[in-house]
Symmetry: C2
Subunit: 341 residues, 2 copies
Amino acid sequence: MVRARKTRLADVAARAGVSRTTASYILNGRSGEMRLSDDAVARVRAAAVELDYRPNRAARSLRTSQTRTVGLVSDSVASGHFASRMLTGASAAARESDHVLLIGETDGDPLVERLLVEQMLDQGVDGIVYATLRHREVAVPAALRQTRTVLLNCADPASGLPAVVPDEHGGGRRAADLVAGVAGPVVVVGDDHEQGTHAGAMRLAGLEEQLAARGREVADVLRCDWSVAGAREAVTSWWGTGVRNGALVCMNDRVAMGVYQALTAREAAIPGAFAVVSFDGSELATWLTPALTSVALPFAELGATAVRLLLDPPPGASRTVRLEMPVVHGGSVPASAAVTR
Amino acid sequence: MVRARKTRLADVAARAGVSRTTASYILNGRSGEMRLSDDAVARVRAAAVELDYRPNRAARSLRTSQTRTVGLVSDSVASGHFASRMLTGASAAARESDHVLLIGETDGDPLVERLLVEQMLDQGVDGIVYATLRHREVAVPAALRQTRTVLLNCADPASGLPAVVPDEHGGGRRAADLVAGVAGPVVVVGDDHEQGTHAGAMRLAGLEEQLAARGREVADVLRCDWSVAGAREAVTSWWGTGVRNGALVCMNDRVAMGVYQALTAREAAIPGAFAVVSFDGSELATWLTPALTSVALPFAELGATAVRLLLDPPPGASRTVRLEMPVVHGGSVPASAAVTR
DNA sequence: GCACGTTGCTGAATCGAATCAGCAGCGTCA
DNA sequence: TGACGCTGCTGATTCGATTCAGCAACGTGC
């Protein structure tokens, strides 16, 4: 806690033998806007280094009303096991642009949300990323109108705010490509049970579309919530239909874990009898045996993209950026089933 | 983006018919330090509400050199599947005290770490929480000396900085209590392979101590890294020793998952033949069948406690706060084995 | 030798809140 | 009536950087 008296701009200016004005312009890289001798520029630069000058952000913010600060408000992204990587990506991207990332969670409470947004606005954030744990529709709080906002992993059709989301539809098509060559029926496990969640419906739509393009179809959709137990039970009762091979497309990795449990208990071989593919690409996919082939949510990239979009908005940008969902290959699909485009 | 011209303290003062000084004292709850009429106080309060006055943080920070901002620097906490809850707890605790939480990750890169800490110091954070994904020893960067610092999930013996960590030793004793009544040998899966990691050694020490107190002992320690595959293989080769019942104490939930896979493949019943307990208490524990009984890392509490310790340091505080690891009960230990203290 | 343009800077105001030092006005008391 | 003390405030400065407007000093041309 030995904090020496900080050097101010005035100290640098004095040491370089120029005025604060001159020093300010030089250190902000705006010496071109003034006629300044190379000598003066060099002296100021040297003085800044020698004195280890670091501008006082509060003073700068007061003058410029910019804080080099980005807020990220979410329902519960930090609590999410995998979605928290959005924070990793977002904070890295903020750092790239010499900003810092402020985070806060509302846990879905609208009152907390309002207070949190106001708190961030009070702090003078340069913009806010509004994120959700699950890809879904939202209605953002009105206070967000007071600053620049980018939605992350969600959409607010009413507001028309720019958004960064995973390309669930494209992901569905990828899943189709993975299983198109598999013998036996293609069965989806876990329909879109969650109100307002985009993921399920869009993945399914992409899957069906691309399967159709390959002359295949979804034979069955097993209804269950997106949980291990739900999927296990769904597959267990479906087992009674007598199907003994095919492809099981799971709506997320937890569902796939339930599917593994159900199949393993019945000594059905993966990928021998059943190919299994999934969505999420979480670490869980690598823990299963065989490792699960999963169409991944690029969370870190999503977070980083949202922050970049907030800080340097491209001129005539499209309002919604959809990021590709890459396939993380495991061993749950027979190699022979791979269909190249 | 319709941002009306903000109301300043001067506006409030004018509307209330007092000076800025008076308004400032009243709005900061320091009217007691001055002799002020109840009437003036009421008028200022009313004016502030009517004008929706919100102090400019930059101006306040410039004057007071406090920012109501806390930094959290970590190696890769946000990327951790479960440890990211430290962020949840930390940001909630920050909000409680009208602070906001700044986060940044270094990914273990010392250069990035230095830059990140400097960036946060430049921002004028009121303090920094230095966190690690795994509970281990660290050597904090020198720049942290410039501000108040609390370590989270790590310790730096050299610095003597206050720290908040899980009570791994106590957790080990809890695990002992869970399995002390189980028939058959107590076997530990996953020794402390990671350099500088505290968790393994301390859990094991607590386990052995409490088992001894109950007249039991650790029969075997299976060496493996703390991964699903490592644990699965370790148990698989241990199977050759012919032991067909007992208790398997896993060093974390992923290890337990590997143990489940190995046991299930051999049709060894859990908890019938083998009781399984673990450490972490992550969501993974609930995904396994039967649900895993696990001694939990209270990540959210750890994060919250660290921030509280930073913001209101108790006077003669002990330097290291150890938080209890609560048991999350699943079905992987036979009910009869429970030993009450 | 004087007007004029260019070069190379500087002075002073500003952002908005916090805070120290001080000061009218009134009542009281001798 | 004048000294004194109390009440209830206010003026002016400060924090540190940004930025507009302006101005010496010098060279050049006529």
